[in-house]
């Protein structure tokens, strides 16, 4: 199944490279860009469409995988990557850049860098608060830290120096992969590799946890250490993607539900397909955004939320029926 999903992902990426306001020969442009030729096609592909496509793919992969990992860890199909506090922390970090002008040397990547640091701090606070945690404590602590960072974010918005900074901030928070360069990939790429690697290393724990902590521990799996590695990995994935692209809602929550039937509900086998499907979905959503009639752009994060929220309501409805 993974090869089929990979093929679908490549096709999506190819379509994404084709979509834009001007008609250009994509493969020629790509080839010219790789060769360093200074043609219009090379610039459009290399500077605009390729970064946008790659970012959509990596953000989607990061969100999909972190959602699958957290739902497996918390044994809760309604768990959202935002639960760790990482999303809000990243948003706060990035917002502080707009407000205080942190990291001027990093240029356009400054919000992303600050976002990653914000996600890291929020995660550490959450782990500190949760202690040697039971899963219920992780949810409570995540909620508490999310609320804290959310209120700080509101304060930053409240005291925005001018209307322009405020609108810039709000639009950034809505989530998008446009107007970003390949340098953002230098933040997302390693985060995807390291975070994904941490989660992948704990896939046996995720499988063992299907029958509960007791069973997992009795099978020789270290719950305390493993769960921290998974949370750290997920925070890295979510933090980096929020830091680069703002809030792209519901992808982490919904993708695992789409993938679960394909892997017979096994929480260890879901990780890679969830990353691939997440990548495909975000890229498709971004294609739809670009296909919309010209004018004020619909932000990617708004689109995923508009589609995701009804699906989420449907999921809650299904869960409710299970318990009735």
């Amino acid at each position: 199944m993974n090869p089929a999903l990979t093929l679908l992902l490549l096709l999506t990426a190819l379509v994404s490279l084709h979509v834009g306001s001007t008609d250009i020969a994509v493969l020629d442009g790509l080839w010219q860009w790789l060769n360093g030729t200074d043609s219009a096609a090379a610039i459009v592909i290399g500077e605009i469409r390729l970064p946008r496509t790659l970012l959509a793919l990596t953000v989607g992969a990061a969100l999909g995988m972190s959602g699958a990992a957290l739902q497996g860890l918390l044994r809760n199909p309604l768990a959202d990557p935002g639960l760790t506090g990482a999303s809000q922390g990243a948003a706060l970090g990035a917002a502080s850049v707009f407000y205080f002008g942190l990291f001027p040397a990093a240029g356009a990547a400054a919000p992303a860098l600050a976002g990653l640091i914000g996600a890291g701090i929020a995660m550490s606070l959450m782990l500190l608060l949760a202690g040697p945690s039971r899963q219920a404590m992780v949810i409570m602590a995540g909620l508490a830290i999310s609320t804290l960072t959310g209120s700080l974010l509101a304060a930053v918005l409240n005291f925005a120096p001018n209307p322009f900074a405020l609108s810039e901030l709000v639009f950034w928070l809505l989530g998008s992969v446009s107007e970003r360069g390949l340098d953002h990939l230098w933040i997302l790429g390693p985060a995807l590799l390291i975070g994904g690697g941490l989660i992948w290393s704990q896939r046996r724990l995720l499988l063992g946890l299907s029958l509960g902590e007791q069973v997992a521990q009795s099978m020789g799996l270290s719950y305390t250490r493993g769960s921290r590695l998974i949370i750290l990995g997920a925070a890295l994935l979510v933090g980096a993607s929020v830091a680069v692209a703002g809030a792209i809602g519901f992808v982490g929550l919904l993708v695992p539900h789409l993938v679960r039937p394909l892997v017979k509900n096994r929480p260890d086998r879901i990780l890679i397909p969830a990353a691939l499907v997440g990548a495909i979905l975000v890229c498709v959503a971004d294609i739809v955004v670009r296909w919309m009639p010209p004018g004020r752009e619909l932000k990617l994060g708004v689109l995923t939320s508009l589609i995701g929220a009804p699906l989420f309501i449907w999921l809650v409805w299904q869960e409710r029926k299970r318990w009735l």
Binding site: R75, N76, R204, L207, G208, L209, S210, L211, G212, Q214, V215, Q217, S218, M219, G220, L221, S222, R260, K264, N265, R266, P267
Partner: protein, 243 residues
Amino acid sequence: MAVIRIEQLQLDSRLAGVSLNLKPGELFGVIGPNGSGKSSLLECIAGLQRYTGDIHLDEHNLAHMPGQARARRIALLPQRCQSAWALKVADVIALGRLPWGDEDADIIARAARQTGVFEWFDARVDHLSGGEQARVWLARVLAGRPEVILADEPLASLDLHYQQRVLELLRDYARAERSVLLSIHDLTLAAQWCDRLVLLDSGRVHAIGTPETVLTPDNIRHVYDVEVEVDFSASRPSVRVLR
């Protein structure tokens, strides 16, 4: 020679100076009222609790044994089990192979046949009844082929038929090099099926030995505060509560 040797096991206020030996081929019953420390004892051996005192598996100190090596030789069947995901029965049983890092199809199918769940091999575990699920959880434990099974009240919530089937399975398993430590509430079943019993009272060993020596009216009155009539003369021993 004992498979498991426990000396002066202490777990905060739950266990106090528990010592016992589990021999190869033995079905050893752990009895006692609620809160007497039955589950805590099994959890200590399964590596879920930090205890003081010594638990030895053969000549190895369990506290210093890597988790995976322990899990290959000792498996826990917890009191309550539930799968968070709608896994296939085959995948649940395959979980028993986690400590071995393989998913040996033969061993998994054999464990399913042993417990009589092979007909639902490809069914979803959440579609089975409670009694059927209980046998799937047991099959998961059998698939790991441990030397010692720690079964924590496996009969709770099972009807009479499944109680007998589960006891037969555990009785069969406890042969040659393998043994089973079983916590159990029903004293009549304990008397009928177990080779030896330990009677726990508030975390301490009140009595240990064969069912005849442990299940005396005096011991039961002291620990459970009920009067019983015990009959070991019949072909199947029984413990009957008088008041």
